[in-house]
Each structure stands twice: as structure tokens, then as C-alpha cells.
């Protein structure tokens, strides 16, 4: 699933924002959060970036770590002044959200 990307007079390069997001790995699966389909929405307004994302399982033990890694990764992008990461469970993550590459990496599909 490709994240919904909305921009409004972005101070940061949207490509760089998406690239930074893609570099955040799930340390259990060794797959990036974008490829896993965990990121639902990315909104860039000026220097503010808001991310709405989920995790594969509610209560995932790496919950805090992954959200913090997303936050820190985006804060390093030039032009980003503030980051808001919102973890949601609705809609819940489903395997359909994974990219084809992620499916192949897991030996699925």
C-alpha cells in the first residue's frame, strides 16, 4: 500500500521525507515500515510533518521503539521543524498492505 501523501507549501522535500520513512526498519522482520504498509498518511505543511501509522499487531513490543525511530528519522530531514507520529489501530494492518517486495522477502506470494 502506498501511503497517502499530502503536501501544503512544504519546507522539506517530500521525497526526502518518504526516503527517511523508508529507512526505518522493523528490527524483527528487517523490512522498512513503508514496505510493510505500516504508514497510512504523511502530511507535510511547511516544516511540520504529521505521520499516521500502525503496527502489525496491537501492543507490539517494539511499538514505542518504532514510533520513536520514525520520529527521529524525520527530524533529521532538512527543513523539517516538527514531527507528529500518531499510531492508530483503525484501520487495522492487514497483509494486503505489504509491498510485493516485502511479501517476497517473507517468502509469501
Amino acid at each position: 500500500m502506498t501511503p497517502n501523501l499530502q503536501t501544503l507549501a512544504p519546507a522539506a522535500d517530500p521525497d526526502a521525507v518518504m526516503q527517511a520513512l523508508g529507512e526505518v526498519l522493523d528490527p524483527e522482520l528487517a523490512i522498512g515500515v513503508i514496505d510493510l504498509g505500516l504508514v497510512y498518511d504523511v502530511r507535510i505543511a511547511g516544516g511540520a510533518v504529521a505521520v499516521e501509522m500502525t503496527l502489525t499487531t496491537p501492543g507490539c513490543p517494539l511499538h514505542g521503539s518504532i514510533a520513536e525511530a520514525v520520529q527521529a528519522s524525520l527530524e533529521r530531514v532538512e527543513g523539517v521543524a516538527s514531527v507528529d507520529v500518531n499510531v492508530v489501530w483503525d484501520p487495522p494492518w492487514t497483509p494486503d498492505a505489504m509491498s510485493e517486495r516485502a511479501r517476497r522477502a517473507l517468502g509469501f506470494g
Partner: protein, 441 residues
Amino acid sequence: MTAPLTGADAPAPHAPLASLLAASAALAAGAVALLLHPGVLALAVPTPAFLALTHTVTLAYVGLAFAGTLQQLPPVLLVTRLAVPWLGRAALAALALGTAGVVAGFALGYQPLALAGGGALVTAALWATLVQGLLTYAHASRADAAARALLAATGYLALTVTLGFLLAAAPHAPALAALIGYPVQLHLTIGLFGAFLLGIAGAGQRLLAMFVLAKGASPVRIRALTWLVHGAVLSEVLHAFAGLPTAGLASALLFAAGGLQLWEVAALLRVRLRRKLEPSVTRYLWAHAFLMPAAALALAGRQAPAGTALLLGFVVLSVSGMQVKIASFLSWQARYAGRAAAGGGRAPLLRDMLVPGLESVTTAALAAGAALATAAVALHAQPLAAAAAALLALGAWAQLLQTAHIVFGRHVAIAARGAASRPARTEVPARRRDGPLPEEP
């Protein structure tokens, strides 16, 4: 939407990690003791040495690993923060100390002071763990069948150690002995099935689903399994204290519960997304191969070998497999979560934290050791017992080395570097799409 847990809400991983490490060390020490005295296994009669070894496995290994896991798992299952964290840490310390007292009390030939002191500490620790679990459950906005099964298992663990404590005290207190009799079978049923089977089923359902990315599992089986175990325990209680002929009913309910556990695991595997299973998950699955032989032996009236297959085969292998996964999660959180936030590619992945090859040794040695131990108990064969002890020691030490490496070792981000170094891994809308991600090893 559920308010997300933040990193600050996550329970501190150090106490459960210490608990898992201590549990592994206890199993390794117990395996060496068995290697030195294999006749204990061949005879399988409740001598002090046999009871010391049995409690090394049940209390020091499984009990410590279970209690340590309970400092981490309820927040995962209930999606809430752990209630009264200091209570859990105090309980783990008391459990470790008390378990040492109980094992020493048996090993030294029923030393009353060590048994009384150790038993009291263990009992208090597990009731404290239950109180913590209940408080956590009470504050949760959601609770599924797996969480309720785990909570019930915690209650049964507290109950079985209380009963064991009373059993140990009964010879010294005639009034107590007259009141409770000598319900050893009830102690075993509550411990092996109420605490261990239910705990493995409850924790395993969620953890296995998480580790193999299985979606769509039904809660019906775990709910039914829980009620079957409740029914079996009630039947045993009625048999032990009211003299009703319900022991057979208890066995039938437990066979059904074991069958449901097999069904549940098979169902999760069928719907999994992660086709390649990790070695520690494979070990958890191998554990279930011991359920049918244990049931067959029990049906044949061979209770001692059935119990051996259930404890050393199903319980130890299950706990051992899950323990490695949980320890690597905890250690990663403690050591590398900050580094991952600082720059994703530099932190090792969970799989980088394992010594390659040790998992296979642990699985093969523990599984073969459990099978041989079952045969040794069934046939009262000393050479088989010696071979079983050697294999169990090999498996237990391989597991201890792995756990110590996970907790203290230097880990290199091999897999992470490979994945992160690929350019443009993201699916930037309609712009870049590159080569495949590395397949799981």
C-alpha cells in the same frame, strides 16, 4: 483509536531479562546435576534428589521464565501499561531467592528451614505476580481470550505453589495433613496443565501469531481450551477433597485441551504470512510433537513417563523457544532502540543478536534428550538416562550461551546493513521501485 503506548510506557526490560538469564542458568545447572546422577531419572521415584531436579525444571526454569515474561507480555496482550512495576521486580527477586531455597531444601534431604523459607518466598512472589496481573487486567480497555488464559495460568501457578507449600508442610503439621490429605495429583494437574499448558497456550497464541505474522486466528479454541482446563482442575478438586470419581473426567478434559492446543497451532501456521520459520519458533513447534506421546502414555497408565514427556518435551521446549525470542526483543529494546532511532541502519536486527547454529543444537539436543528421558523413565534404564542427561545438558548449555550472548554479547548489524544500504527502499509514490529486499535467511 486506542491511545498508543509510548516508549516511556514500555516496561523496563532489565528485570525480565535477568529472570530469563537466571532461568537458563538454572536449567543448565540442573542438567549437569542430572548428568552426575542419571539414576535419579531412571528410578523416577520422589526421592529428595528427584524432587530437587523436578523443582529445578518447574520452578527455577519454567517458573522464572514465566514470571519474567509476565513483566513484559501483559502490556502486549492487553495494550496497556504494566501495573505497579516495582511489585513485579520484587516478586522476581523473591521468586529467584525462594526457588533456590526450595531446590536446596530438597537436595539437602528435606531441610525444613530451607523448604519453609523458600516455599514462603515463592508463594508470596507468585501471589504478588497474580495481583499485578489482575491490576493490569483491570485497567485494560481490551482483553481477549489469550490474555484471560494467561491470567488464569498465573492464578494456577500461584495456586500450585501454595498447594506444594502446604504439601511440604503437612508432615510437620498433623492438623494440616488431616485437613488437606495428600493431593499430589491435584498439585501436578494444576501445575502442568493449569499453569503450564494454559500459559503456553495463552502466551503462545499471541506470540506465535506475532512471530509468523498469522492473521485471522479464531479466539474460540483458546477460550474452549481455557474452560476445559478449568473443568479438569475442578474435577481433580472434587476427586481430591470430596472423593468423587471424577479423576477420569479430568484426564478426558485434559486430552481434549491438548488436542485443541495442537489444532490452534496448526491453524495459526496455516494462515501465516512468514513462510520461513525462525529456529526458535521451530523449537516451539517441535514441543507440540510431545503432546500425543504423552497422552498415549497416560492412556496406557504410564503416568511417570507421560509426565516426563509433557514436562521435558512439551513444556521445556515451548518455553525455550519462546524465551529466545522474548530475550532478543527485550535486549534489543534495552541496548539498540536508541541507536535505531539515531539512524536505522546502524542498529542490529533481532536475528543479528543470535549465535548462528546454537539454536539448532538447542532444539536437537533438548528434543532428543526429552525423548530419551521419557524412554528412560518408562524402561527404568540407566544407560538411556545417562544419554538423556548428556543431551539435555548440551541443549541447556547451548541455550544458556545463546541467552547470555543475547544479553551481553557484541552484536553486529549484518542484516541491517545489507537491507539499509540498498538505495531507495521506500515506495515513494510512482517514482522509485527497486530490486528485491533480502529474503529471510
